[in-house]
């Protein structure tokens, strides 16, 4: 039996639809999350209040939220840059790791360099590391048309094992009590503090996001990117070299994610560990999707997700597992994805639709 309801395309997309969809996603997530909390014997109001308070209630909380938003925002931007051309970089998680490895390598090579020089070189190493991991998928996609979703995804698992190998083997800290960790980074490699827990990494990330936002919106390069993303034939007709574009964009995407790994290592951790990417690469894909691949949106969603993660950690004192943060992030996405459909479509009864069609003909 056919469903009594059907989607009908709107004549023009609903204005402000994406912001509305995001709001719907947040509401849906909070509602379903509270059911889960109630069932497991927690007071949702108490939990949500504590989450919000820890993320935004103090200068210290805000600084932690913003620091968490840095890797989320850069990973989101990495995905968005590729996504605006219709390409999927699912490999941000691995590229963050590769970036952190690149930065850690520089620190091993020049542990006595002065701070500013060492930090700069480490961040360059991170960019190169992230780009290096994206090189294979970029070449395969642009030369042979190999699906980049799967190649970038597979390399995540490879990168995780490379860092696992390093901290268990050649880079293992001899004084680390046999823990799988690399030695402590040189003291002068730490990014300067900004306020409370935030460091200069926040400024770097904000600058990169802003620069990309302005550049892709204003430059011919950004225009060509969007053309190539909307229609392959239009791009070819306009004389845009798709192969070169695909290659650069994927490489650039990897480099941006790599930078996130470099900032994470120099800013928030004192040594290379296996969990350096912490799921930010995967969360970045959700961030970019919610932001419709726009840099400005990426910044906003990254801060929101940073807050959810900080809040998730804070409620462990109430006996609620931190995993609630992952659940909420996924629910926000499912809610927003579903709601976003109504930006371009509306639900109609099948009978009225066919009646209207009959009148029209």
């Amino acid at each position: 039996m056919p469903s009594p309801l059907a989607f009908e395309k709107r004549e023009s997309p609903l204005r402000g639809g994406q912001i509305r969809a995001f709001a719907v996603g947040v509401v849906v997530a909070l509602l379903l999350g509270s059911i889960l909390l109630l069932v497991s014997g927690h007071d949702p109001i108490e939990v949500y209040t504590k989450m919000f308070d820890s993320a935004f209630g103090s200068r210290r909380g805000i600084s932690t939220t913003l620091t968490r938003a840095v890797p989320l925002g850069l990973a989101g931007l990495a995905v968005a840059v590729a996504g605006s051309m219709g390409l999927w970089n699912i490999g941000a998680e691995g590229q963050i790791i590769a970036g952190a490895i690149g930065a850690a390598w520089i620190a091993r090579l020049g542990p006595d360099l002065p701070g500013p020089l060492l930090i700069t070189l480490m961040l360059v190493g991170a960019v190169v590391g992230g780009g290096f991991l994206a090189l294979g998928p970029a070449l395969a996609k642009s030369r042979l048309g190999v699906n980049e979703i799967i190649t970038t995804l597979m390399l995540n698992e490879v990168a995780i094992r490379v860092v696992r190998y390093l901290v268990n083997g050649p880079w293992k800290d001899p004084e680390g009590n046999n823990f799988p960790i690399a030695p402590e980074l040189p003291e002068q490699s730490a990014l300067p503090a900004l306020f409370e827990r935030a460091n200069i990494g926040l400024v770097i990330a904000a600058f990169v996001l802003l620069a990309f936002g302005v550049y892709t919106a204003r430059s011919a390069w950004g225009y060509e990117l969007r053309i190539a993303g909307s229609s392959e034939s239009a791009a070819t007709y306009a004389g845009i070299s798709l192969k070169a574009k695909v290659f650069t964009v994927l490489l650039l995407s990897g480099a941006i994610a790599g930078l996130a790994g470099g900032i994470e290592l120099t800013g928030s951790s004192d040594r290379l560990v296996e969990g350096v990417a912490n799921g930010w690469g995967y969360a970045g894909i959700i961030v970019a999707a919610l932001a419709l691949m726009r840099p400005s949106g990426v910044a906003a969603v990254a801060i929101a997700f940073g807050a959810v993660q900080v809040g998730g950690l804070s409620i462990q004192t109430l006996g609620v597992p931190a995993a609630i943060a992952s659940i909420l992030q996924a629910l926000i996405l499912f809610g927003a994805l579903s709601a976003a459909v109504f930006t371009n479509y509306r639900l109609v009864r099948r009978s009225t639709r066919s009646a209207a069609a009959a009148v029209a003909s």
Binding site: I90, I150, V158, P321
Partner: protein, 310 residues
């Protein structure tokens, strides 16, 4: 290297092969209908935690397995509703299913971490058959789930290639609009395929927590769901080839903790990268070959279908 270690290795190859094959077979069916589901890891975790819980509650491994299968199928329906019914992006929805599934399984299973298994699958007792050298010791020293996996693989091959139902499923995955024109419900077909995929991923998770490594802990799926996604491509979307791939990748997983016993000096961590690198290699080779002949991938994979857009 003696006979016992070799037999131990081969037993483990079939065990890991079973784990991977169940999940990869489910993903093959979903992808054949045109739906990419990157949520395998999350569905496995949900099936695993649900089955382990049911085992503790009932003490019956078969009930527990069934609960795992149902949990996987129900959880995959989220991807079905969002990506198939609503037509949202399959890549993002599937990834969110993995993130949410891992989170939800950890949340629901927090009190199960310290629990002893309430039920587990033991190797089947086939009497004298178990004593047959090599064959009996390896092939018959498996749980019933491995036999189920083998049977499901044969059924999937038969249905996909020899029946009308299989033809409809493949038609939806090759060209949704053509299938729709001929009177097939694209949404219904894809929804069912996604939920079969979820059921099998759930069974794979249940096999993990009831047979392969009885117990529950956060992160117990350890990225095996991604190997299953890789296997589908490696096996060119064919149940038989996916099965051979499962034995190969299962072999690599089984070899990992045993490398040193065999006197190999290579780090087992480096060996564990091989499944992923092999899959990338296969993709590259396939795309070079597909310049001369059509690709094995379902043509409509990843594309949402709305009749209204036609």
């Amino acid at each position: 290297m003696n006979e016992t270690t070799v037999i131990g290795l081969l037993i483990a190859v079939l065990e890991f092969g079973t784990l991977l094959y169940l999940a990869a077979l489910g993903e093959t069916i979903a992808e054949k209908s045109g739906v990419l589901n990157l949520g395998v890891e999350g569905m496995m975790a949900m099936g695993g935690v649900a089955a382990f819980w049911a085992g503790v509650e009932t003490g019956n491994p078969w009930v527990a397995l069934l609960v795992g299968v149902i949990a996987g199928a129900l959880f995959s329906a989220i991807h079905g509703v969002v990506a198939v019914v609503m037509g949202a992006d399959q890549v993002v929805s599937g990834l969110a299913l993995t993130i949410g599934g891992l989170g939800l399984a950890a949340f629901l299973g927090q009190d199960l971490v310290v629990q002893a298994p309430g039920a587990r699958f033991e190797a089947t007792n086939l009497g004298p058959l178990n004593d047959v050298p090599w064959i009996g010791e390896i092939v018959f020293d498996q749980t019933a789930v491995s036999w189920i996996a083998l049977a499901l693989g044969v059924i999937a091959w038969f249905v996909l290639t020899r029946t009308r139902v299989g033809l409809i499923l493949r038609a939806v995955g090759e060209s949704a609009s053509a299938a729709d024109s001929s009177g097939t419900s694209v949404v219904k077909t894809r929804m069912i395929a996604v939920m079969i995929g979820g059921a099998l991923a759930g069974m794979s998770g249940a096999y993990l927590t009831l047979a392969l490594a009885p117990g529950w802990s956060e992160g117990t799926t350890a990225g095996r769901g991604w190997i299953a996604v890789a296997l589908v491509i490696f096996g060119a979307w064919q149940p038989g080839r996916v099965g051979l791939g499962a034995l190969l990748f299962g072999g690599l997983l089984a070899l990992e903790p045993r490398l040193q016993t065999f006197g190999v000096e290579v780090s087992p961590i480096l060996l564990s990268m091989l499944p992923y690198l092999l899959t990338v290699g296969v993709l590259v080779v396939l795309s070079i070959r597909s310049r001369h002949r059509p690709s094995a991938a379902p043509a409509a994979i990843g594309q949402a279908y709305r009749r209204e857009d036609r």
